[in-house]
Symmetry: C2
Subunit: 259 residues, 2 copies
């Protein structure tokens, strides 16, 4: 029956057009959200309030529906909130961590507040092969293991798992780990500055237990940093596995084309 | 009734001890998972198969239950899979992106395969203020907007939103954007090498639409890179907002203590 076919075809056509429009608007919302999120994160709204939807629409030459959808994306990320009678306000507390220079957390966030560390565990463990190789100690030799929940101004920021060779670790155990970066303590103990660190960054979803510890929703995005830090003389002294709450940290740096 | 009180107290005590044991095992599982994940990602299992649970338990001096829980964490991340009769196998395809030198995607992943780009959108748009300021063009001036889904060996890797000043953009529109990095095209068009880029990295959860485009689960962790690239003469020529699938990319580099 040709009529049915035509109707089917028309129906499909309509669906395709509608789907295309939805896709287009979703693309435009993402595009706008990326521009707004930068403004939000870099202090582009000094009084903490975003312009009205209509004003954003005019500034970015886009429809009010797209503006609403873009603000919805930023809300889902926890960057902004909508307050009745006030409008859309910035609620993010996202701190910049430098990618240009090797620094401890308290050092790099100095101007943003006070870092405190809850030591969840600290004591010797037998180094498994992947730890022993990187710290250049015999497999099975004791190394110091430290697990810390790190807070900035009282808010959970990261969960750090740290391995240190025991000759340095013993001195660390008596130190003020609650209030001092391990980097600073290592430099004080060895009497020499740190040299360099190899780092690897990944984005992962927080497992249930890590999320609980970080007081973040289960499955929330975590910036995972693995870092092997060496003294100035080249000796590897600090292997860390760090989970940063994705909604509380950005990493910034500068790359050059030629080395 | 004192008996009831004692029973309650004993009950609570038991709960606390059980909760403590669960927490301890979860902490140990995370600690083990972080060591195994490194092995998985750096080719520590050349034949793609992890040792038996009992062997891992012996190597890492931990219980079989902890090993199982750690492997469960890696499975949830999509790094390993359990095959009946075979054991635990590596299924991750996670590629290393350099953080030390400014490189295009095809360049940095050259040894891992072929990068192809699906151009979802390419055309002039009026530059909103945050784009205009960074590219140093007048607000409202046309810039080239390009949206690409980038694949490595056919698998979606990243979704890139790119803004280019129109004097360079016009030449780009006629180029082979499907198979060539924008970086390479910019160097060819301008006849000068790129200089440096300011980058910011974040971990975010993919919104529904971005997840669909990247063929990733909704809410999956995304490594978000914002990058403003300058020519060697200092002119900013390329503003990008890039969403990398968290399960397909790692970023590695070297940090120094003194600059």
């Amino acid at each position: 029956m040709p009529t049915e076919r035509i109707r089917d075809h028309a129906g499909q056509g309509a669906t395709t057009v509608a789907a295309h429009r939805r896709r287009l608007r979703a693309d435009q919302a993402r595009q706008l959200a990326d521009l707004l999120r930068r403004q939000v994160l870099t202090g582009g709204y000094p009084d903490g309030t975003l312009p009205h939807e209509a004003a954003i629409g005019a500034d970015y030459r886009t429809s009010r529906n797209t503006v609403r959808q873009a603000l919805g994306l930023l809300r889902a990320e926890g960057l902004v909130e909508r307050l009745p009678g006030v409008g859309t306000v910035v609620v993010a507390e996202k701190y910049p961590h430098g990618l240009d220079r090797l620094m401890g957390l308290a050092e790099t966030l100095r101007e943003h507040g006070r870092v405190s560390n809850e030591v969840r565990s600290a004591g010797p463990v037998a180094a498994p092969a992947p730890v022993a190789e990187r710290l250049r100690v015999p497999v099975g030799a004791d190394v110091l293991y430290i697990e810390r929940l790190r807070r900035l101004n009282g808010l959970p920021l990261s969960l750090d798992l740290t391995y240190i060779p025991l000759d340095l670790g013993t001195a660390l155990l008596g130190a003020d780990l609650e209030n001092t970066d391990v980097f600073r303590l290592l430099e004080a103990i060895t009497g020499q500055p740190l040299g360099h660190a190899e780092i690897t960054l990944e984005a992962v979803n927080a497992d249930a237990h890590s999320a609980t510890v970080l007081q973040a929703p289960r499955g929330s995005a975590v910036l995972m940093l693995e870092r092997l830090t060496h003294l100035a003389d080249g000796r590897p002294v600090d292997l860390e596995f760090i989970r940063f709450r994705g909604d509380r940290i950005t990493m910034s740096g500068l790359l050059r084309r030629s080395l």
